[in-house]
């Protein structure tokens, strides 16, 4: 299979999963985060389903993964990477934005086809946030 087409399929499957699970609906996400209100715990099952599936597939592929481990892949989520102040501050800040809006990056991008102004505003601001980070912390 063509490599570009293959990554397209991966993105498509990812998006379909988000849509099917209703992670793409900010009101639903806020209902999941609102543990003191009319709490809707269903979205926790999205993570359960994803972790089980990926975990099992990784276990079957463990030999091949060992050969390619950490050569090319995102080192930021590597088991060997250390916890630092950036991780703590960044994750805390991300959570505040997630709690204010009900959007995290994947669902926000899927929402671009909803035609809602709120989706465009959020995604535009998110890319400005990415850009600001690149300008401030390009220490590589």
């Amino acid at each position: 299979m063509n490599s570009n087409f293959s990554t397209f399929i991966s993105g498509l499957l990812f998006g379909l999963g988000l849509v099917m699970a209703q992670m793409t609906n900010p009101v639903k996400v806020l209902g999941f985060l609102d543990v003191a209100g009319n709490w809707d715990p269903t979205l926790a099952l999205v993570m359960v389903g994803a972790l089980l599936t990926l975990g099992i597939l990784q276990w079957f592929m463990r030999k091949r993964l060992k050969q390619t481990q950490d050569t090319d892949r995102d080192l930021l989520v590597s088991p060997k990477a250390k916890i630092d102040a950036k991780l703590i501050a960044g994750s805390a800040v991300f959570g505040i934005g997630w709690g204010l809006s009900g959007f995290c990056p994947g669902p926000a991008l899927v929402g671009l086809t909803s035609g809602l102004v709120g989706s465009y505003v959020f995604v535009g601001a998110m890319f400005i946030g990415f850009f600001v980070f690149n300008r401030l912390h390009r220490d590589r």
Binding site: N4, I9, S10, G11, L12, L13, F14, G15, L16, G17, L18, V19, M20, T24, P26, L33, D34, V35, A36, L43, V46, G49, A50, L51, L52, L57, L65, R73, D74, L76, V77, I83, G90, S91, A92, V93, F94, G95, I96, G97, W98, G99, L100, S101, F103, C104, G106, V110, G111, S114, G118, F122, V123, A125, M126, I128, G129, F130, F131, V132
Partner: protein, 138 residues
């Protein structure tokens, strides 16, 4: 919480896990959406192609789902100024922390990365506190 919503949450999660495994096994990449998306901004790198293809698949998923009879519910009740601020925080925060709900929450946690476990607990906590303050505080 109905039987159907439980099934669709689990099934949707399984699809996300499959998509992440696909990208990992066939392309040796982490399916972290913020990390993939930030790579399409300047300074442009050589690997921008696969990122654009992945994002194209992600964005086209909702209309395709509708085309085959599925329903897509997206409801936004948050004022635009709050959405704009939240977008900035999510963009900056996910890059500073090196991952979001997908990169840390799914890929990193599935690799039992302590960094990702700490990140996930943290962003879940601040998100819950934020919603609490907005909806029930003061």
């Amino acid at each position: 919480m109905t039987y159907l919503t439980v099934l669709s949450a689990l099934g949707g999660g399984a699809l996300i896990g499959l998509a992440s495994a696909w990208l990992l096994f066939f392309h040796n990449r982490t399916a972290g959406i913020s990390g993939i998306a930030v790579g399409i901004l300047p300074p442009f790198q050589q690997d921008i192609g696969w990122r654009l293809w992945f994002l194209a698949g992600l964005v086209i998923s909702a209309p395709l789902w509708k085309l085959f009879g599925g329903s897509v519910h997206i409801q936004i009740d948050t004022p635009l100024i709050v959405l704009a601020s939240a977008g900035l925080l999510v963009g900056y925060g996910t890059r500073l922390g090196g991952g979001c709900t997908s990169g840390h929450g799914i890929c990193g946690n599935a690799r039992l990365s302590v960094r990702s476990i700490v990140a996930t607990l943290l962003f879940m906590t601040t998100a819950v506190i934020t919603v609490f303050i907005v909806r029930h505080g003061f």
